[in-house]
Each structure stands twice: as structure tokens, then as C-alpha cells.
Symmetry: C2
Subunit: 258 residues, 2 copies
């Protein structure tokens, strides 16, 4: 029987989702340790996609195969008793017949958060990067518009991307600006049908660069040439959160609140 | 010369503000280590008040005495180069003549944050406590109204409070409720002329208890009798943040943003 888990994690103390050979702490590792205890046998846990070291998730979808008499909705509690505080299962359910959480993805939404302030702020810096210059939200929205649509995003991926094609569709890039006492928070929400290695962090880097004065013409040139060097540096990991994975139908039913 | 510092810290990995004999990591400790390097001699750093282990601050005011040729506004950068990521100086200034950051306090505002959700949420639990029952914000506001004003808050302090009198004035208690996907966040902002040991966490505990159905009559009885046992348990430390210390005049000028 296949089960799906909606998983939230604080990526700060994880070396990414995927298990590492050197025994580093990973999200997959802690989930598989818990799963082995719940099911009484070793169980593999896979995800809608890997997240890098330091990247957070509030809506990662994972799956595992196993036999148990525990009702699917009760697996959440069983896992949470065994999981560490920085990784918890928000919902659990039986997977629909033939479902695969990696291949069935329709859309994913990531949020990249960054703040502009005169100095580092300890209560923000765990989940947001710090900007050294104040970007213009209007200019950021200009860049966002150019990035939407079906494009060859080769220039927006790190070397080492193993994908067969670098053509992806970005459905929406939304920019939110929130002025607070002493700092301004910027959030870039990116929804697409899939993302290349480091693509969201590179998109975010370029959007902030345009916000701080870089010409938008490099975006079109980068689509044409696939030249990584035309585009800004990869934004740092702590600002990135995998917000939602969409399969075109609800996997977990309506989120319950007692 | 006396200097004042506006300090933000994530209290998670500190054993409170005050230096401990056993060499535990404290906010005062890291500030004094940095100060000794900046001034070249040992320097004592004091605060508007101590915060307990695990309690955060985004507007703690600290002071120190020392001689330096560094302009007061530049001290921020000097400190921040030496301070760890979870404690930073947001502003620095010369103190007005005769100023004492502890005795001159007019008002303080604390915010207590807690969320209601079916399970622990890793991306919230560093800065908010988890509620096991859903409180009614309206009932919480009833409790809030009763707690405002000048009262003997003896029943709302932990044993070990060394204050001469337990009469304090609470100017305002505000309740905010924010419904999000999968959880509801509650914020209690408390402004007063001073607080007894654990007083804000005990007020928060009682407000949530009333929100979950406890009668408000215990509040009046607790003011009359000073009986700690009439009032709810102390709410946990991670939900509490010292938001602002008010001296009746701006210590740091207008917060700059380039």
C-alpha cells in the first residue's frame, strides 16, 4: 500500500532532502528512520523533489510503500512522535491508485524571502536572506513579467543539472513588499511546472538584481543564449521555502482543524 | 561616556540575558565579549531588564560606559562584526546625560505568540508556542480588558520575584488572531510600566485559558488574594518577545533606512 505525507521542515540543520553517503543529517534520513520504526521494516521515502541544504518546506509531499494496520490518517501522529522538532508530518493519507509523488507533479510553488535592513536581524535571518541594497518592487515586477511563460531556462540553472530538457513553464511570479519598523521584507512567489537545479534561487537573484538597477535586457539574452554568466548569482538557501506541490487534485482532503 | 545599544536576539540558544556563574551562553556574555574587544578593556553591559532563557527580543535596550574615539553611531557596525548571528545591535547612540536604561524605563511592550494547529509546525515553533485547544479571540479579549489598569499582580508572578511591590500598571493588552492555511496564529501584545518575574508569560497563560473556557472570575479573585494557584500555568518561553522599551523620548533618533 502506498502512503503520502505532507511534510514541513526547517532546512537550517539539514544537509538537504536527499540521503547522503557520508551520513549527514537529511530530511529523507529522519523520515526513513521514523518509517522503519512505524512499519517495523526498512522503508524508502521519496519526495516530490529534492530540496538543497538549508532550504525549508512547508508543503513537501513524500511517499512510501508499506503494510500496516494503522489507518492512513493516523500515520501522522505515529511519525510525529518519532520525528525531531524541525521536521513534522502535517497530514497523511493513502495514495490514489498508480500515484507517484515525483512524476505526478503538475505545479510547484516556491517562496523566496529577503529583507532589506541596515544590519543583520537575528529574528529574520533564519528564514530570509539579507539584501545589501534596497530594491524597487516595481522594477522587480518588470523582471517577474519577463520570466513568466515557457522558456529555455538553461541560463537559470547551476551546472550539474541532470534534466533532459531545460524548457520549463513558469505560470506566475508574484512580488510582495511589506514595510515594517526598521526593515522591508520582500517575498517572491514562483509557480511553475517544474524547476531546474537552483533555478528558483537564480530567478530570485536576478529579480533582486533588476530591482537594484540591472537592466532587464539580460533576461531575454539569457533565454536566447543559455549563458549562465548573464544572470545574477544564486541567492542564498535560507531564503527559500517550498510552499506547495500541486497534483491537480487534493491529496489530503480538506485540511482539518478541530 | 555612556552608550546605548538597541539589541535584537533570538533567545533559543541563550540561557537568558544575565550572565551565569556556570559559564552558560548568555546575551550579556556575548555583548560583554564584543564590548571588551571594541573598547580594549573589560566593559559591563546592562539592559532595560533581564529576559529569561529562550525569550527573544527585537527591541532590548542596553547600555555601557567606556571611552573611545569611534563615533557612537558607528559602534553598531563594530559590535556586529564581533557578535554571533543570533544577537545583533540594530542601533547605537550616546546616552543622554544622567540616563540609566533600567531605571528610566517608562513602558515596555512584550508580544506573546502562539498557534493552534493539529500538530507541531517546525517553521512556527521557534518563535511561537503551540496551543492544544482552539481559543476564542473574543473571550481572550474579555480577559485582556480585566487585566488592564493598576493592580496588585502578585498572583501573576513566579515565586522568587524580588520586586519591592507587586503593584503594576498594564496600559494595554491587545489580541490579534490571524487565520492561515492549516493553523491560526494568536498574538497578545502587553504594554505596562513594568513587569514582575514571569508576569507576561503568566498573563498569556491565563488569557489563553479564558479563551479556552475558563471563567474570568478567577482574575478578580487573584487580584484580591494574590493567590498564584488561581491563575494558569506560565506559558512557555519560546512564544515571548520583548518588542519595545519606551523612555518617553527617542533614544536612537529616527530609525534610518538608506
Amino acid at each position: 500500500m502506498r502512503f503520502v505525507l505532507l511534510v514541513e521542515y526547517d532546512g537550517t540543520c539539514f544537509s538537504g532532502f536527499q540521503k547522503q553517503k557520508r551520513g549527514e543529517r537529511t530530511v529523507q534520513g529522519v523520515l526513513e528512520t521514523a518509517a522503519a520504526e512505524v512499519f517495523g521494516v526498512p522503508v524508502s521515502v521519496s519526495a516530490s523533489g529534492r530540496t538543497d541544504a538549508g532550504v525549508h518546506a512547508r508543503g513537501q509531499v513524500c511517499q512510501l510503500d508499506g503494510e500496516t494496520s494503522i489507518p492512513a490518517v493516523k500515520l501522522r501522529e505515529c511519525f510525529n512522535r518519532l520525528l525531531p522538532p524541525d521536521c513534522k508530518v502535517l497530514s497523511s493519507a493513502e495514495a490514489p491508485a498508480g500515484f507517484d509523488c515525483t512524476r505526478a507533479v503538475k505545479r510547484k510553488t516556491y517562496v523566496y524571502s529577503a529583507y532589506y535592513a541596515p544590519c543583520e536581524m537575528p529574528l529574520l535571518s533564519r528564514y530570509a536572506a539579507r539584501l545589501r541594497e534596497r530594491p524597487s518592487a516595481d522594477k522587480m515586477r518588470e523582471a517577474a513579467r519577463l520570466l513568466c511563460g515557457e522558456h529555455d531556462f538553461k541560463a537559470f540553472s547551476s551546472v550539474g543539472s541532470s534534466a533532459k530538457t531545460s524548457v520549463r513553464t513558469v505560470y506566475a511570479v508574484e512580488i510582495a513588499e511589506r514595510k515594517q519598523d526598521g526593515y522591508t521584507m520582500y517575498e517572491i512567489s514562483v509557480t511553475g511546472n517544474g524547476f531546474l537545479y537552483n533555478m528558483v534561487r537564480i530567478l530570485a537573484g536576478e529579480i533582486f538584481a533588476v530591482g537594484c538597477g540591472k537592466s532587464t535586457q539580460f533576461i531575454g539574452k539569457a533565454f536566447e543564449t543559455g549563458e549562465r554568466s548573464l544572470i545574477a548569482k544564486t541567492a542564498s538557501a535560507e531564503g527559500l521555502t517550498l510552499a506547495q506541490v500541486d497534483y491537480g487534485f487534493p491529496l489530503f482532503g480538506i485540511p482539518e482543524e478541530k
